[in-house]
């Protein structure tokens, strides 16, 4: 089993102000995510035929509107921010050794940064009417 140790002797020394900022971030992004994820699930899983309606034409239709582009960008940023900060707490709790903790956090940070870049590019460089694609797969406005 996990040996016990004195919490006061932990190697991680976190400035109080940083943890206060983290606490505020979790509550702000958490409240925001209730609206963002709630809307995402309601539209994508509860309308039409739910998950059976989600395809290239459906997503292209959503991203034709700046409203859903911004919605999904906020979802991406708030979701990854809230999740990464939560996983930082989990890593602090369970990963033993300063170097291992730092390594896990660096790996997670790199993965999250790549996904922020990838997700933002996908939302804002999306081509709803790619040349040469079968017309029946495209949204109706491609003509």
């Amino acid at each position: 089993m996990i040996p016990r140790r004195d919490p006061a002797k932990r190697a991680v020394v976190v400035p109080q102000r940083a943890e206060l900022t983290s606490w505020v971030i979790m509550r702000v992004t958490g409240a925001l995510l209730i609206v963002l994820v709630g809307g995402h699930l309601a539209i994508n899983l509860m309308t039409g035929h739910g998950v059976h309606s989600v395809d290239f034409a459906f997503v292209s239709g959503k991203w034709a509107s700046p409203f859903w582009q911004v919605w999904d960008l906020l979802l991406l940023l708030a979701g990854l921010g809230h999740g990464a900060n939560g996983m930082r707490t989990v890593i602090n709790d369970y990963v033993r050794g300063d170097r291992a903790r730092l390594t896990w956090k660096l790996v997670m940070g790199v993965v999250v940064a790549i996904l922020v870049a990838l997700g933002s590019l996908v939302i804002f460089t999306h081509d709803p009417c790619p040349h040469g694609a079968p017309a029946d797969l495209l949204p109706s406005f491609c003509g």
């Binding site: 899983l45 395809d55 990838l118 694609a133």
Partner: protein
């Protein structure tokens, strides 16, 4: 569990020997009461949803390859087994969200800590109501009942 229940309120009372501690699992058990289980559930659902989010960003990114590639990936989500997985995922998201609201209330409301068990009952009740609304629609779509 009765021990854990009575111990929950007083942090100065030393932990008693429980069945779990005899099995060598005592070290992983905090005071074993409502607060601990909701904390554990919050952590498990949070980690699970985070890992799904990482994968979900990648699967949506296939939309930049071609319409056919994206539709093929979305087809995976329509498989009945994935449909059940999505039901579990939504349950995890809803539980995490509602328990998060409970945590905010406990932090912000002066009586929050006193009524945290009542708030947890509220979390379970609202969870059951929301899932009762979601599951028939989603399982209907997944299994073609609608």
């Amino acid at each position: 569990m009765k021990d854990a229940e009575t111990r929950g309120g007083d942090p100065t009372t030393p932990a008693k020997t429980t069945t779990l501690s005899k099995l060598g699992l005592g070290g992983t058990l905090y005071r074993g009461s409502w607060g601990q289980w909701s904390w554990l559930l919050h952590r498990i659902t949070g980690a699970a949803v985070f890992i799904f989010l990482l994968l979900h960003i990648l699967d949506v990114a296939t939309i930049r390859i071609s319409p056919g590639a994206f539709n093929a990936v979305m087809g995976i989500y329509r498989h009945p087994v994935m449909g059940l997985g999505e039901a579990v995922l939504v349950a995890a998201v809803v539980l995490h969200a509602l328990n998060g609201v409970r945590i905010i209330i406990v932090d912000a409301w002066s009586q929050g800590a006193k009524y945290h068990k009542h708030l947890l009952v509220g979390v379970v009740v609202v969870f059951l109501i929301l899932m009762a609304g979601f599951l028939p629609v989603h399982l209907g779509n997944t299994f073609g009942w609608r």
